[in-house]
Amino acid sequence: MPEKLNLNRVPMPRQDPKVRRGNFDEVALGYTEEQALEEARRCIQCKKPSCKEGCPVNVDIPEFINAVRENNMREAVKILQSKNSLPAICGRVCPQETQCEAKCNLAKKSAPIAIGRLERYVADWGRAHPEVTAERERQPFSIVDKKVAVVGSGPAGLTCACDLAKLGYAVTIFEALHVAGGVLMYGIPEFRLPKEIVQSEVDYVKSWGVDIKLNQVIGKTKTVDEILGNGFGAVFLAPGAGAPMFLGIPGENLSGIYSANEFLTRTNLMKAYLFPEYDTPIKAGKRVAVFGGGNVAMDAARCALRLGASEVSIIYRRSKIEMPARAEERENAEEEGIIFRLLTNPLRFIGDDQGRVVAVECYEMELGEPDESGRRRPIRKPGTEFVIEIDTAIIALGTRPNPIVPSTTSRLKLTKWGTIITDEATGRTSRDEIWCGGDMATGAATVISAMGAGKRAAVSIDSYLKSG
């Protein structure tokens, strides 16, 4: 007798907000086996599954969920890893609600299948059973007599490198920092994406024979043209986010004012939250203001709280519905006690005689007609200036492309924003042997869209090298 379909998704256990705001441990705790099976059983295994269309890396979603339903985790891991080299990461940080889950046929009637949570469960099961991932049909490495270079070991670079390695290419990744992972290591905080998990997925990529060279700033240590002249048949550029944007208001260079990139890099990559055991310091202060409304602003605010701040505000010039952050992240931040000062914009920072920020003067905004982004344009309300005392400010307004790679590579065509012009379908640049993906091609975007770009580039690089 068929069971009645449960319209509600199985909730995922999370750390209590009062507890988690005081630690860097992961907030979301993941499904238990029972919970995963229960959620997987909600999947109706559509004849025409549209969830797949929503996945930038084309994971065989119904197939892996079916394997979970049958409690065949071994098979589920294989299905997942055949398309996605970084599933434990995607299960945690993908905005599934606008991708696969938005396309789920159940979403029309009730809650869509929690595809992300199931992906996370399967990936974590795989990490706990390394013999399964090692079981794959291991081809001899470097069966194709062509070398490919990848610049940057973030989500785009790792995906492209791993896909090409699986096809038998000899792949070398050049990474500027002292660890591989890019934004997954320096940007996304430990409590949202534990670094141990990133490391294990990087290790998975390395297990396919990908060589990762650290401390290589391409454009400085060597140039793209030199790489191409050194036996590499193709280069995939994925150097990631570049120069952080600032507000451009007076007082912005006072001490205690960080870009979100700096604040997060100190915290996540350099482990300043463990200072003085680790050498890199950070001053989170007691009263913190974060400027911006994206995921990075949420991450920075929640890090500041965990570093000991007593009052953390997010200052955003529009209203809550215009915030680009994922609803889930915004809710997490709210639960933890982050204050949202909406329709508020800063005018200037005020410092003391030591050059340290002590306050920010703001004014109120109201929403006018929609602008070219489709969001209602914020307009300043005159006579509403007020001062907030702070000892730390974090600017989370996004980044501009880092010019090091484009400015040192010959004949690359750039957009007026400084991103590299690429063909959307293939990632190919204006030069035949160079591809590009991730933030350097699109401007700041998501982990999964960068991975999708890495995957498409790998296909295109493969066909180019095979034909050449």
Partner: protein, 275 residues
């Protein structure tokens, strides 16, 4: 890991390492820097490249905080976890004519490759090197080998002229026409060099040394104000027009972590009483 091939104790608390880093050595130019991280728990610190040969890069550092204290315990044969570069824009070096190169304290090391390249481009190079006292002065001979004239000063007169570097700088500017001045050293010294050359209207370049994290333009920690504009020293610099730099802001930003640096150093000293 990057191996230290030799170590020299140049002066009191000032050390030289040659570090095996062929890729960087091949690319290094005067004015550029490297970022190093000593070990897995270390911070990333920038150090100017003082020299290079085919396989090694030379760095010179002064023992001040925990990282440099720890670094000073290493010897030839030891290694450094991470060593990356060459970063920043090279110093603009042309055939200017007559130039003055000022090096103060540990900055003396940075002006060596600069003076050498200026000399190679057929400039007449007058070098002024200064330190607090005789024990802190180093590389006079080396600087002399790439200069037409060298003036050494100490604050206390224990060696060379008892003067600040700005005094001979001013005298030379009064004496003859100089096409360009370069100054590398403590911020306060660079600030006063800038003030000294300003009335003579001689273009003066300084090499700024703000706190950095990644060193590749990604974090903005090293931002400085030059001519009212915010610049990132790591990618736009580290060289800037001295007459446009806000030195006071730079000094304040350099002091941002004084309390933490003191705490880290105290804990380090407690953990190893012999140093």
């Amino acid at each position: 890991m990057y191996s230290i091939t030799s170590r020299e104790d140049l002066a009191s608390g000032i050390y030289l390492f040659k570090v095996e880093a062929e890729d960087i050595a091949k690319k290094a130019k005067p004015g550029q820097f490297i970022i190093l991280r000593m070990d897995d728990k270390g911070e990333r610190i920038p150090l100017t490249i003082a020299d290079w040969d085919e396989k090694t890069v030379t760095i010179v550092f002064m023992k001040v905080g925990k990282t440099t204290q720890k670094l000073a315990t290493l010897s030839a044969g030891d290694s450094i976890a991470d060593f990356v570069g060459p970063l920043g824009q090279p110093t603009e070096i042309e055939s200017f004519g007559r130039v003055i190169v000022v090096g103060g304290g540990v900055g003396i090391a940075s002006i060596f490759p600069l003076a050498r390249e200026l000399k190679r481009k057929r400039n007449t190079v007058i070098s002024i090197i200064g330190s607090r006292n005789k024990d802190l002065l180093f590389w006079e001979d080396k600087i002399r080998s790439v200069s037409d004239e060298v003036i050494a000063t100490t604050d206390d007169g224990s060696y060379g002229r008892k003067a600040l570097v700005t005094q001979p700088l001013k005298e030379i500017l009064e004496r003859e026409k100089i096409q360009r001045v370069f100054a590398v050293g403590p911020v306060i010294m660079m600030k006063f060099c800038a003030a000294t050359t300003k009335p003579f209207d001689v273009k003066t370049m300084v090499s700024l040394n703000p706190i950095m994290v990644d060193g590749t333009g990604m974090c903005g920690c090293c931002r400085v104000e030059v001519g009212g504009e915010t610049k990132f020293a790591c990618v736009d610099g580290p060289d800037f027009d001295a007459h446009l730099v806000d030195f006071d802001l730079l000094m304040m930003r350099q002091r941002a972590y004084l309390d933490e640096e003191k705490k880290a150093l105290e804990m380090w000293e407690k953990s190893c009483p012999k140093s």
